[in-house]
Symmetry: C2
Subunit: 548 residues, 2 copies
């Protein structure tokens, strides 16, 4: 019988921000049992995938062996770790495990997807453990920018893996558990085979800082403001929401939650026993009746999302919240790379209306939830792994993380790419296979493999438009009516040149000599060439033949 192996397979999150998706396998090569750790999405961008809301990994490799998948384990409830669960579950049909707050939010996703009768999330207590076939998992509390982030210690007969999920070391996280340094240090004492670790801030020196310090600073800042105040923050950062609500209370402002995600998260946190002393909130409609100095709007939309509360407030199209000269908006958040222009656009709209905009660029109103270099070094000192495996980052973060790990005397550092299968034990860790990987777009309601090129094809339309031509021929291949030329996205002065080129092509056509296919191709080329000559760009051109 073949020897047991312990393998690691990242399918998302390696070499990119978002869609964290990792699998660990144990067993002989032809009969591995798998656990999946996190199952996240990435949000689509107009530049790379226009019309795509959400991107998930291509998981066909695991779907084909779903009978050997023991479960999906979620480290925490951020979208880039749980956002694909409802999309992936129909392909995997395995149990789902998470601590209570995370389980509550996953259950909401399953409910929305109409899957709540088919699968229930199994709750693991905070600090609990879980046995899945050859894997014994300990959930070790750590800190991050959400409730209940967990490091997973994954024990197997071939060694112990530590999978960090997203984390930082916050000496005073305000809500939830502190980092269980003793447990991490004990793992190091027992011996850790590999540390699979967050790379997001591997380029950032020092430490990420504490929520408690943000609370002090935000409370002082809000105290300096006289009129209406709106604060936007990531809704999932419950400690931050609590901070903002308490800062409001300290200055006798009543909080109105604005935006669906704010209500959803506050409610989920309360259901799980958090936010027991969260100040009472009012509706935005009621808030409109309070004096400006007595209200604080806690809003979604810090990333400039066009349908979120703050975008509507900036456009003055929100039904209940109206800001004006002398009011202030605080962005208690960071700018996620790629969101600069929509965020600045929103800030410009606010500034144009005389609203003061206060951000993390000029005020201490945010700390990151990911480990900076000193924190990474601390994690390596605690766990002392034989192998460092940076994940959750772009290549520039992961390569720098590997460099840091080597400088900390970690004997081996791997920089994995999605789809690479590594044997971690027995023997030295090494790449042994590459499996199908890539991205799948949720395009409207349809899942489409990125490689099919649908979104890329639409980018071509966005660049140079499209010419669609229908040629109408009779049974003998003769032209039976003028070609129908429909043009989208091309400047009007170019249309005439296109029409002329099609006409010329038709004039040269000899049905006795040429077939319809040849005609279609010559028309296609003529139209494209004419557009290029008149315009300098080459549109997509499609030609069809109708026979009457």
């Amino acid at each position: 019988m073949a020897q047991n192996e312990l393998v690691f397979l990242p399918l998302g999150g390696s070499g990119e921000i978002g869609m964290n998706f990792n699998a660990y396998g144990f067993g002989p090569p032809d009969d591995r049992q798998w656990i999946i750790v996190d199952c996240g999405v990435l949000f689509g961008r107009e530049t790379t995938a226009p019309g795509v809301d959400v991107i998930m990994p291509d998981i066909r490799y695991l779907a084909e062996q779903r009978d050997n998948i023991l479960g999906i384990v979620a480290t925490h409830a951020h979208e880039d770790h749980i956002g694909a669960i409802a999309l992936a579950w129909p392909m995997l049909k395995c149990p789902i495990y998470a601590t209570p707050f995370t389980a509550r939010l996953i259950a909401g996703k399953l409910e929305e997807a109409g899957l709540s009768r088919k699968v229930r999330v199994k709750e693991v207590p905070v600090g609990g453990n879980l046995s899945l076939g050859p894997f014994a998992l300990d959930f070790i509390s750590i800190t991050h920018s959400i409730l209940e982030p967990n490091v997973l210690a994954i024990r197997t007969a071939l060694g112990t893996l530590v999978h960090t999920g997203d984390w930082k070391i916050d000496p005073d996280p305000l809500l939830g558990e502190a980092t269980d340094a003793a447990a991490l240090s004990k793992l190091g004492d027992e011996g850790v085979l590999a540390l699979v670790c967050d790379s997001t801030n591997a380029l950032v020196p020092g430490s990420s800082g504490s929520e408690a310090k943000v609370r002090e600073s935000l409370t002082a800042l809000i105290g300096t403001l006289k009129n209406r105040v709106a604060v936007t923050a990531f809704a999932s950062n419950v400690a931050r929401l609590d901070t903002i609500a308490k800062a409001a209370k300290a200055h006798r402002r009543t909080v109105a939650l604005v935006g669906r995600a704010m209500h959803k998260i506050v409610s989920a946190a309360r259901d799980c026993g958090y936010l027991t002393d969260f100040p009472p909130t009012i509706d935005a409609t009621e808030a409109a009746d309070l004096p400006p100095s007595k209200v604080l709007y806690l809003c979604t939309g810090s990333q400039g999302e066009p349908r979120a509360a703050l975008a509507r407030i900036a456009d003055d199209s929100h039904p209940d919240v109206h800001l004006a000269q002398g009011d202030a908006v605080i962005f208690s958040s960071r700018v996620i790379p790629g969101n600069e222009l929509p965020i600045f656009d929103l800030q410009n709209k606010l500034a144009a209306r005389g609203v003061e905009v206060l951000t993390a660029e000029d005020h201490f109103v945010h700390v990151s939830g990911h480990p900076a270099r000193d924190e990474l070094a601390q994690m390596y000192r605690w766990t002392r792994p034989r192998v460092a495996i940076p994940v959750h980052g772009e290549m520039r973060h992961m390569t720098e993380h590997a460099r840091l790990a080597r400088s900390l005397q970690v004997p081996q550092a791997l920089v994995p790419e999605n789809g690479q299968l590594f044997r971690l034990a027995p023997g030295r860790a090494e790449l042994i296979d590459e499996v199908p990987a890539g991205r799948v777009h949720l395009d409207g309601r349809v899942l489409v493999t990125e490689g099919e090129g649908l979104a890329k094809g639409r980018r071509a339309l966005a660049f140079a438009g499209v010419i669609v031509i229908t040629l109408i021929l009779d049974g003998r291949g003769r032209s039976a009516a003028a070609p129908v030329i429909q043009i989208e996205g091309i400047p009007a002065p170019v249309h005439e040149a296109i029409r002329k080129a099609v006409d010329t092509s038709m004039d040269r056509y000899n049905p006795k000599r040429d077939g319809g296919g040849e005609l279609a191709e010559s028309v296609r080329r003529a139209a494209r060439r004419a557009a290029f000559d008149a315009w300098g760009k080459k549109p997509v051109v499609r030609v069809a033949i109708a026979e009457v």
Copy 2:
């Protein structure tokens, strides 16, 4: 006869980064004489204007009175100040004035546009002056991130205006003139009506720093590197190019210029008498034969431009430059907002190949060319204007700049928007009119007004694709052949639903009862609805009728 007035009209650059375009008018309201200060472009972005390379202001208001335009005066040679000259000139047909280096680069643009026989740029000496009708202009040297930046003192019978162009106060600019503080201060003594001033860094505390300090730091950094080094910088920053070349020389590396813009700028600077001690350079082909420790590639492409040298190097598709494990790339530049993702993409490709990436985030390798708040304050102390007019910035920058000016006791601060016409004298400055303004896209080779919605229409194609249907009817309006349905950018599983919906619509069609127009509309609606039901997105749908 109506009273003379002095007016200010921004047509670009107010409320946005780029396409700086300002006009000053003097005379009675119905017979003003104009000068235009700067004539810049903005680069198109896939998110807002896909397929558009360059954006310029809509200048129809000035084009209509071109006989009263005395000239275009360029403050300096950055694209956002001179990039639209060759596009705008055919509409304006007025003289162009600039100092020698700027004139040289404008002449290059006119040459490329085939205009060099029609218009020659008139050179104004550095520190010189120019009389244009009622305007007397002094060119006052200042510092920026390019050679020959000028502040314009614009003297009129109704008072003196100071138009800063882009500037900083660099105590040691290394190349070109120092800031003529005495001239600026003297203007203040004589009395300044209005200061029209760069707002780019109005949110940045302190000072921008000096090129000389970057030279020290870059020289030290390059000294730590052992293998091939590539440095990317804005080609127009000639002092920076000189710094990099001298740092290379200090470590016995020979410089190879890589990228067309590098050659162009170095050649222009030499023609104008700069860079007399620039170290000799070699071709990239020759550089390939040198030991890795003896070469430094000075490359275009710091903003992740896909066709620039560095993008091709990162893809390893450059014919002459190949970087590998152990080599290093220094980004001696900033990230222009909106370019984050392409720049990071490029850095990730380099990192994936083992190339070390050094940036302004972790090393002191760049200083901004725009005034931070301390420098702005200094400019106000020198010039002591009655009115502050922030330009060249987004709204968030301009409003903060106005706030700063008021805090410095400037009696009046205006925040202009493009197309707003302000009377600056006589009397208190005030908005007196709004003229047609907006943006014009250079779409391929065709100028298209943004308001026509061409690029916006293409974004709709990118979002949800397009369905083009040709209905073929006979002379009595009966269907003569099956409709031709051409679909682009829509997932294959949705096509069948669209085809069925069109068929059903055709089946319901009664040529005796309904006209062809009604048929087309019902087919259009049915196709769009079917796509939405099956997919969740609404594509563009076009229906045409062919009669046979």
